[in-house]
């Protein structure tokens, strides 16, 4: 409890997340007379020694290289051709792009930032209000967090000891569902408010679509390769990350001939900084995770929850509401790292599949990143597009409601999430 108070105090004083965690975690060891402080340092070291976790740097690097190698720009023109004729125009492009990029990029926030930079201005020029554009770019980033690879799902699998391969496959249908739901929502809002004039445009001919798809076949092939190689045992998810990096380099250098050695160096350099930030938080969370396990907090929580109710649906809803509350206040990575080891025993004790819960958890905390007060994705996008938070809020609520509706459906009908993993993997 003292540790939690100290952590929140430091965080609010503006001490970076990783250091707030380390300070409050170390304080516990210093004050305890049975725990040597060396153990805290060991937990940080040990946090870097997980093979599944290697997927994090790989997919961060792969994302940076995709942007430099011309894969991203080809996906944008493909998405554009596919959906910009629908009422709402470019707003659909950002959604479809998120779904396409979902398969190549691991980080929702990086994707939202990239799309705000590239699509923000064209969206405004096409007659969409700035707040509306910022809102849909931000919220559609949830799709990226859901469709494999996803850093959130990797961290969840790592902390909760859940198969990352199963989690990856489980994210596919919810991602598709979110894509469709958000497109319907955009279409409804745009046609009722007459945003963006698309009357003159018509759906592309199949021939056009095929030729555009041919131009970005290497990028479209990638998510397919990823799933196939993981499922049929050529690669573990971490190894698939290494494959993703080399694949992107090969496509960029040999296929599209756009990636230069200098750009590759820049992509590596930017990735190092992203990795440094995320991993210092992961290492720091190692200390706090030890204290949580040492205090037997998960077991106690599981006991007190099962004292209240044994109903899986109720437990699931309680957990999700809790996550939503914390997710709107805290950064997503840290919520996943700290709450996964606490909540997984709780949900397992009432028989909820941890794969089902994992997809919901990652969606909910990523959703928290799109809402006030501490929505990092929201701030990032509004910052890049120079959009006020007020106009963002005014336009975003239909999207929030859509996401909530999808979340409720996914929570109540586990089979939507579990159908694919149960079909492709026999239950271990």
């Amino acid at each position: 409890m003292i540790m939690l108070g100290l952590f929140l105090l430091l965080l609010l004083l503006g001490v970076p997340l990783a250091f707030s965690l380390m300070f409050s975690g170390l304080a516990f060891f210093v004050l305890s007379d049975t725990l040597p402080v060396m153990v805290a340092v060991q937990r940080m070291v040990a946090s870097s020694q997980s093979f599944p976790l290697l997927a994090v740097p790989f997919f961060i690097l792969a994302g940076h290289i995709m942007n430099a190698s011309g894969i991203t720009s080809r996906l944008i023109s493909f998405a554009n051709l596919l959906v910009c004729w629908i009422s709402g125009g470019l707003a659909h492009v950002t959604i479809v792009l998120s779904a396409l990029m979902g398969g190549v990029s691991g980080s929702a926030i990086a994707d939202a930032a990239m799309q705000a930079r590239i699509l923000g201005k064209p969206m405004e020029d096409s007659g969409l209000p700035r707040g509306f554009s910022a809102a849909i770019i931000t919220v559609s980033a949830l799709i990226t967090a859901c469709i494999p690879p996803s850093i959130g799902l990797i961290l969840y699998g790592y902390m909760g000891n859940v198969s990352i391969g199963r989690l990856f496959i489980a994210g596919l249908i919810p991602g598709a569902l979110l894509t469709v739901a958000l497109m319907l929502c955009v279409r409804w809002v745009a046609s009722s408010k007459r945003f963006g004039d698309t009357d003159k445009q018509s759906a592309p001919a199949l021939r056009e679509v095929l030729s555009a798809a041919g131009k970005c076949k290497w990028a479209l092939l990638f998510p397919v390769l990823l799933i196939v190689t993981i499922r049929w045992g050529i690669f573990t998810p971490s190894e698939a990350g290494a494959f993703a990096v080399l694949y992107a380099i090969a496509v960029g250098m040999l296929g599209y001939r756009e990636l230069t050695v200098k750009q590759l160096w820049t992509a590596l350099n930017e990735s190092v900084r992203d990795i440094g930030m995320i991993m210092l938080i992961v290492l720091a969370a190692g200390i706090v995770g030890y204290v949580i396990a040492f205090q037997q907090l998960p077991q106690e929580l599981a006991q007190s929850v099962s004292a209240i109710t044994q109903s899986p649906v109720l437990v699931l809803l309680i957990c999700l509401v809790l996550l939503l509350a914390i997710g709107t206040l805290m950064e997503g990575t840290i919520t996943v790292l700290l709450l996964t080891p606490i909540l997984v025993p709780v949900i397992q004790s009432v028989g909820i599949d941890p794969v089902h819960f994992g997809v919901l958890l990652v969606l909910v905390v990523t959703f928290g990143g799109t809402t006030p007060p501490v929505g990092i994705a929201m701030y990032t996008v509004c910052n890049i597009m120079d959009c006020s938070i007020q106009s963002f809020i005014r336009q975003v609520w239909p999207f929030y409601l859509t996401v909530l509706a999808v979340l409720i459906v996914l929570a109540l009908v586990p089979d939507i999430v579990l159908f694919l993993p149960n079909h492709f993997y026999a239950t271990p």
């Binding site: 049975t34 040990a46 049929w232 040492f294």
Partner: protein, 316 residues
């Protein structure tokens, strides 16, 4: 009276016992027995918390925490301790003993106590008891195995410690270290072709769903010990120390008996699940793994162990 009891429970020295096994493993029952025995006999001055599934770190991490003086103990096999005391590694060497009784005799011997003393000096670690027998290791494959040459080119998952890797290599397979939690999916997806484990683990991890053959080579007798911090142990009173040692031995015997009792049932259940269980002629495997002792520098030590088991060691 009540306040005194509260005081006593506040002052209770807590030992945290950690295992990488799950709560469905027979060893877990042994750890629960250990907890019950210690808490009952120490009259509240000692208490034990059991952590399953490596919640506080992997086995090597826990050993390191114990070295740093934390009140922690872990259930580990000899192979993992061989970096600290070379002699302890021989407990994981192939075909060291011909029966469990011999093994039980060895870990209760003067010879073993000397190894324990070395461990205290070299790493500030102390064995409470090393009689936690988990079963014999057998081969889990997708095709029948009758002799070492059948294993040629087979990627076989084993524990990532020298004695294990050398043994599997000597048996003819390609040793492939992988974390235990990944073995099921790796076998299913054919990332690896085979594994080796004791029957209780085959059952616990449901590996019978992803392999078709169990070949009872019994190449290694998996025996573990409860290892704790020597510094912490020395901070206890002599009677507390005695309680811990005695409880660890009794609980270890209890856990081993559980394994023995469970193995027959598990074998039947595995057959029901469609797994073919065979017992090969062990001599070719014994011959094939013979060089392992020389490679790891255990030749002399094995003679010492043999002398002891044949009764010649009594004079020492």
């Amino acid at each position: 009276s009540n306040p005194e009891a509260n005081d006593a429970s506040k002052r209770a020295k807590v030992l945290n016992v950690v295992t990488s096994l799950s709560s469905s493993d027979p060893m877990y029952l042994g750890l629960q027995r250990f907890k019950a025995l210690v808490e009952a006999r120490s009259d509240g001055s000692l208490s034990v918390n059991v952590f399953v599934g490596s919640q506080l770190g992997n086995d090597d991490d826990i050993l390191e925490q114990a070295m740093a003086g934390a009140a922690i103990a872990v259930l580990v096999d000899g192979g993992r301790l061989s970096v600290y005391t070379h002699e302890l590694g021989i407990l994981g060497a192939p075909y060291l003993v011909s029966s469990i009784d011999e093994l039980r005799k060895l870990v209760g011997s003067e010879l073993f106590s000397r190894w324990n003393g070395k461990l205290q000096d070299s790493a500030h670690l102390r064995v409470l008891a090393f009689n936690w027998w988990q079963g014999a290791r057998h081969l889990l494959t997708q095709q029948p195995i009758t002799q070492p040459s059948d294993l040629s080119g087979v990627r076989l998952r084993t524990i990532s410690a020298p004695v294990w890797i050398r043994t599997i290599d000597a048996m003819g397979a390609t040793p492939t270290p992988l974390s235990w939690s990944e073995v099921y999916s790796a076998l299913q997806q054919r990332v690896i072709d085979a594994a080796e484990a004791q029957l209780a683990a085959v059952w616990g991890a449901r590996l019978y769903e992803v392999v078709s053959h169990v070949t009872k080579t019994g190449h290694i007798q998996l025996i573990s010990g409860l290892v704790t911090s020597d510094d912490w142990f020395n901070s206890l009173t002599p009677s507390e120390q005695a309680i811990l040692n005695q409880a660890a031995i009794e609980a270890g015997d209890y856990a081993s008996q559980n394994v023995l009792a469970a193995e027959k049932d598990i074998e039947l259940s595995l057959t029901d699940a469609g797994v073919t269980i065979t017992t090969p002629d062990r001599q070719p495997f014994i011959d094939a793994t013979e060089p392992v002792y020389n490679q790891l520098g255990y030749t002399q030590l094995r003679n010492q162990v043999r002398d002891f088991l044949n009764g010649k060691g009594e004079r020492e």
